[in-house]
């Protein structure tokens, strides 16, 4: 990407954000100060940013892993939900054995995410069904599944609302610093992002994955196992998103409810795009989106700017990039 493009998109996004702040009748300086205060201004604020980062970083890395292998996995939302549902199912089984309960969640959530992606991977390779179509359908099925689970098998009989039984306090991850919501989950997400970056850019497997994504026919002609590579990337992507859902339950919510996400799977894709489709760039964008989200409540409370600004700004930035980059090659990711 050219530096000039990046600069133009950044300037355009800042200009649009300033315009929206002015439209809301606030001063841009006040709004920026409130946003920064809400995102980083205190231990609690920084902890909130870190806590919100976990799911976004993992879905962003999940998007990168799939997209770089040429798989348009739009099913991150459903895979995230599958992981959260698995965590809510196995987490309460061992209320007095924190280690066992956490291990069960950390194993079950990625597995559920991969299983949620598996039908789409199979359809893509065996039936030539574009993953875009199958994963959108699977997202619907996952959302309906959550609706059913929290009212049926997983329902907490003690609760007034349809929600799952809570994980015990002993099982939930403890904050890294007292008074902040961040747990070790965010560190795990960042470590996985670094591992994915290493794997994609420094290993033969990563090279093969990128080759299959960029030039599938050439990769196949060169003797690469393209079907296995694509399917593996698809399942790994689902596993990462599923882990994101599981960690959301284990570190933050302690249970499953309906609706469980406000589109973290789709935001992860946007973060990956803004990060130039690299794991570290995607992770950085994920943290940026989380900071915007955490800062947005202070933005609304202290500066009178609707908190939705925090979801408009990243979307505008990504649209700007898409407009600047434009066209695809004939043998693109599909």
């Amino acid at each position: 990407m050219k530096a000039r493009t990046v600069l133009a998109v950044a300037l355009g996004t800042v200009a649009a954000a300033t315009l929206l702040v002015l439209l809301a009748g606030a001063s841009p300086a006040d709004a920026l100060a409130a946003l920064l205060r809400g995102a980083f201004g205190s231990k609690a604020a920084a902890g909130e940013t870190a806590a919100r980062s976990t799911g976004l970083v993992l879905t962003a890395v999940a998007a990168v892993v799939a997209f770089r292998a040429g798989v348009l996995n739009i099913g991150l939302e459903g895979q995230f939900l599958a992981g959260a549902a698995a965590a809510a199912a196995v987490g309460p089984l061992f209320p007095d054995l924190p280690f066992a309960a956490r291990a069960a969640v950390i194993l079950a959530a990625p597995l559920a995410g991969a299983l949620q992606a598996a039908p789409a991977a199979w359809l893509a390779e065996k039936r030539r069904v574009p993953p875009v179509l199958s994963t959108i359908l699977l997202n619907l099925v996952a959302a309906a599944g959550v609706t059913w689970l929290v009212r049926g098998p997983l329902r907490d009989p003690a609760g007034d609302y349809p929600q799952s039984r809570a994980l015990s306090d002993a099982v939930l991850l403890a904050p890294l610093v007292p008074g902040a919501r961040a747990t070790a989950a965010v560190l795990a997400a960042l470590v996985l992002a670094a591992l994915a970056a290493f794997l994609l850019s420094r290993t033969p497997l990563g090279l093969a994955l990128r080759a299959v994504g960029e030039a599938p026919r050439a990769a196949r002609a060169a003797g690469l196992p393209d079907v296995r590579l694509r399917s593996g990337a698809f399942l790994a992507s689902g596993a990462l998103a599923g882990l994101g859902g599981g960690l959301e339950v284990l570190a933050l919510t302690g249970r499953l409810y309906d609706p469980f996400t406000a589109g973290v799977g789709y935001s992860g894709i946007a973060a990956a795009l803004l990060g130039g489709m690299t794991p570290l760039g995607g992770a950085a964008s994920g943290v940026l989106f989380a900071a915007l989200g955490a800062g947005s409540s202070a933005l609304q409370r202290d500066a009178g700017v609707p908190s939705a600004l925090a979801s408009i700004v990243p979307a505008l930035a990504v649209l700007g990039l898409l407009l600047a980059q434009g066209g695809r090659t004939a043998e693109g990711s599909r």
Binding site: L72, I74, R127, L137, V141, W148, R151, L309, L323, Q325
Partner: protein, 286 residues
């Protein structure tokens, strides 16, 4: 049970009109997975127009205009600039969700009061004319695609864009037109929701209906007439859920909401090649 039939029709119409628009665009070879966002924009514009004092029919027209612009915007990115439509659509959803929430907050202020708008007047069968017209839309599209020169050209842009181009016709123009029409129908779907069953706006008021409409297109195997029974079934099931609000009904409702997704997945798995999808679906224009 007249109440039931009426509610079922009212709930089916937004899905049906939005799915008809999406089907039109996909038959032209592009795809807008941001239909949820377009519906949301239509819902908000209809709400804002209603609060601004416009009569319901004019609110519907205002939403259509917004949808037209949204469709052209999509075409600028995904057709003319040839950015990947999947990525454009994903981001469009996020933008529409944020922008409508932002605008609603500015328009409604801090009050937690429920702001309502007037709904469309009832006509034949106790439902507004626009709702009845929605049921004609797939029929009209069916004959238009099969019987008119313009319809055949549109389908050619989705099946064999190179051939269209070799006739000296612009694939970009055909798909852009389809995107604009599809934007109009998607926004009308969102607006109809506000102007019939839920006459107020809340963040994300469309509640996944855009994704459901996308599933209906696959379920219908890109055949307009097949949208009718599918949308009616979903409308009926949702109306039933409204009538039996009491607890314990979670399983069948969730099952029926998942049903179009499950059946469409099954159809894709069983069909020989891509389940009847247009051959050039999602491709860049030549």
């Amino acid at each position: 049970m007249t109440g039931f039939v009426e509610i079922a029709l009212l709930l089916a119409a937004p899905l049906l009109i939005a799915a008809t628009g999406e089907l039109l665009l996909e038959r032209a070879g592009s795809i807008q997975i941001g239909l949820e966002g377009t519906m949301l924009v239509g819902a908000f514009v209809a709400f804002a127009a209603g609060r601004g004092g416009l009569p319901p029919a004019s609110s519907l027209a205002a939403a259509a205009l917004a949808g037209f612009l949204a469709g052209l915007l999509f075409a600028l990115f995904a057709v003319a600039r040839r950015a990947d439509p999947i990525l454009v659509g994903t981001v469009w959803n996020l933008l529409a969700l944020g922008a409508t929430a932002f605008a609603y907050r500015l328009a409604a202020g801090e009050t937690g009061a429920v702001l309502e708008v007037r709904t469309l007047p009832r006509g034949l069968f106790g439902v507004p004319d626009a709702v009845l017209a929605s049921f004609l839309a797939p029929v009209v599209l069916h004959f238009w695609l099969a019987r008119t020169r313009a319809g055949l050209r549109l389908a050619a842009a989705g099946e064999n864009p190179e051939a269209l181009r070799s006739l000296g016709l612009s694939v970009v123009a055909v798909r852009s037109g389809a995107a604009a029409a599809s934007g109009v129908l998607g926004a009308l779907g969102g607006a109809m929701l506000i102007l019939t069953v839920s006459p107020t706006f809340v963040e994300g008021v469309t509640a996944g209906r855009g994704f459901l409409a996308l599933a209906l297109v696959v379920f219908a195997r890109w055949k307009p007439l097949a949208l009718l029974p599918a949308a009616l079934l979903l409308g009926g099931v949702t109306a039933l859920q409204y009538q039996l609000q009491a607890g314990g009904f979670g399983l069948p409702y969730a099952f029926f909401i998942a049903l179009p997704g499950l059946v469409a997945l099954g159809a894709l798995a069983l069909a020989s090649t891509r389940g009847g999808a247009p051959k050039a679906l999602g491709s860049a224009a030549p």
